[in-house]
């Protein structure tokens, strides 16, 4: 708006000679159209790589598209979605996804908050510590997951060695992949390890913009550091907390690499022998590229998209309330 408002004002102050028709057109083009041209690349790329796949996926979700049997191809209506409701594999994967999501997100954000709070104090070699906690984030996820897969191995695994030190599982070592709870813990550990430092740095940068006198006043009033953290710091960095909660929700519900590479038999994408840690993203991959049922996989993707929207919305509302609901 402001750009268009400027023009008449300029004319009044110094009336230019009546412009030629081409020049006039160019002038108008420059003022009115060029800004859109400059911002358009983002929207065009988003349309190609964001909106188009979303719509295309929605269309595929309403079709039967079977690579193993092309004769079945055709419109399916909502049959894929109906099938989803009674598919025990889908509900199992949904449960796993939420289980791992809670086990990873909650400790991750809490730990990040506490670490950021520690780093916000006067420490020796602050830069060293701050870079140090970011290192896991810089490690390629495939590399770190492979190391963790060996760490949580049944025979000769480091995790089991630690457990044996405290007298657990010396007779029969724990098979981390065999039960849901142990597999979830192992995968959540990988996620936590990777993202705690990243979130801590985000919190830290927000914390540093909080004026010091607020804390001084609180200290004078006798507030403990713990009380200061929850009553001053968290409410004041609330926008960043919101941001991290939403990002971890999206990331957590799309979890794929970790369970995939943790599996003993990644080719099957079955998330353990009994689907103990098969996440929805993994199930989509399996249905699409192992069972070759692209239509059904597309409907799962859309269901996941809707689930993420709902959960992110709930988390958004809950986190706003946590900060005192301004």
């Amino acid at each position: 708006m402001s750009l268009t408002d400027l023009r008449p004002a300029a004319r009044h102050s110094a009336p230019p000679p009546p412009p030629g028709k081409t020049k006039h057109w160019l002038y108008r083009f420059d003022i009115k159209t060029i800004p859109y041209v400059f911002i358009s690349p983002f929207f065009i790329l988003f349309a190609i790589f964001g909106v188009f796949p979303l719509i295309f996926n929605g269309i595929v979700a309403l079709r039967t598209w079977r690579l193993d049997d092309r004769s079945l191809d055709g419109w399916a209506g909502f049959a894929n979605f109906e099938r989803l409701l009674t598919d025990e594999d889908f509900w199992n994967a949904l449960g796993n996804t939420f289980g791992i999501f809670i086990l990873s997100t909650v400790p991750q954000l809490l730990a990040a908050l506490i670490i950021a709070n520690l780093l916000n104090r006067k420490l020796r070699a602050t830069t060293f510590w701050r870079i140090g906690i970011l290192l896991p984030y810089l490690t390629p996820v495939v590399a770190s997951t492979l190391v963790f897969a060996i760490f949580f191995a049944r025979d000769n695994g480091l995790a089991n060695w630690f457990l044996s030190l405290v007298g657990f599982g010396q007779e029969t070592p724990l098979d981390w992949r065999a039960q849901k709870w142990s597999a979830w813990i192992a995968i959540a550990t990988m996620v936590n390890w990777k993202w705690i430092g990243y979130n801590a740095l985000l919190y830290l940068s927000a914390m540093q913009s909080i004026p010091k006198d607020v804390y001084e006043a609180a200290a004078v009033d006798g507030a403990s550091p713990w009380k200061q953290l929850w009553s001053i710091t968290v409410p004041m960095i609330q926008p960043v907390v919101l941001f991290t909660v939403i990002l971890s929700t999206i990331g957590g519900l799309q979890l794929f690499n970790e369970p995939m590479m943790f599996d003993e038999n990644p080719q099957s994408a079955s998330g353990g022998s009994d689907g103990q840690f098969q996440t929805i993203a993994q199930l989509i991959y399996k249905v699409g590229w192992k069972d070759l049922d692209l239509g059904y996989a597309a409907s799962m993707s859309w269901a996941l998209f809707l689930i993420i929207l709902v959960v992110a919305g709930i988390n958004f509302a809950a986190t706003r309330r946590l900060g005192g609901g301004r």
Binding site: T33, I44, D68, I150, A153, N265, S270, S273, W289, L292
Partner: protein, 428 residues
Amino acid sequence: MRRTVRAGLAGVAATLLIAGCSGQSLEGNDDASNGASGEQITLKVNFWGDMGLDALKAKYEKDHPNIKIALNSGEFNAQHEDLQKKLVAGSGAPDISAVDEGFIVQFRNQADKFVNLLDKGGADFQSKYLDWKWKASMSADGKQIGLGTDVGGLAMCYRSDLFEKAGLPKDRDAVSKLWTNWDDFIKVGQEYTKKTGKKFVDSGTNLFNPVLAQQPVGFYDEQENLQMDGGPKVAFDVSMKAIDAGISANLASFQPNWDQGFKKDQFAVLACPAWMLGHIQDTAPNQKGKWDIAAIPGGGGNWGGSWWTIPSQGKNIDAAADFVKWMVQPEQQIEVFKTVGNLPSQPALYKDPAVLDYKKEFMSNAPTGQIFAATAESLKPQYLGKKNGPTRVAVENVITRVQQGGLKSDAAWPEAVKQAEKVAKTAK
């Protein structure tokens, strides 16, 4: 309103800019690969591991100066998945792609995406191949999508040093006589485990698969009906018996734990096709001379082996077909066998001195050419259903659950049938 129109125009302008750039680069590509006769043609060949093509490439390029071969070796699963995605996309596939036995059913069901090699003079080769090898890459409506390269054959690799320590025979002929059937094999395993306190086989699934391959009918009959009570039941019972006998180390193949198992002597035998020898050698190089090869209980078998296929979306399918036909000629097949040990799939070559006389030094000088050729020839051909791959994974997972202790072995069979039926149901 006018504003939206303008924004739209701006979008179009920017799209044209982007399109202009990409259009140019596409043209550049066309120039490079446009294959009129006499011009340079580049054939991209996708495969995995080492298929012994380096020497062949040099030779072919020398005889055909206008052809350049671009070899692209990748990871086994990634190459197959990449091919599948490019077939769906309709572009980007290599000119020639290797396809393994585990994926050939999936791709022969999409035969319209491949060049039918019968149209390119491939029919002349039918009589040269093992019958089951020829049929396995043929679609239901009679299109031939691939020409076979190698077959795995199947034998039983064993650790002669560990056998000796356990008081078992060491010599490969004597070991073969120990186990003419799978019951004997399990008894030998129990004896070994009792003497040494160590496990005998790597896993129950690695017994299930070879036993299943020896049955006349696999998971599906030729009408695509699931036949769990036939071959699969026999194979499943053998694996359950081995697990109950306590001779299985319960290690999943090709995983870090399994590789560790080699080094830590966690198992003494391993069902092995020809190409497995390379893996043993890479994983445990210091066990040279400690491994040997005996016959597999129950006779023949096969595990793995590949085909050369030509996706029909390619621009140079005729040049690609010529190269594939050249690669499967006896001379080249023998060359590959000598360099990497892959066993040819044409029985006439099994009489070739290069195959007959070959001895593998790492495996205590076992005559691997003879051993694997014999098992590949005596294999009873088995029809692989459309859902063979996913069904096998489902049943293997049940076996793994028994090994992990989550399922009792006497309750496992009904569960295996249930899981297999679930996979089969989605096929209809």
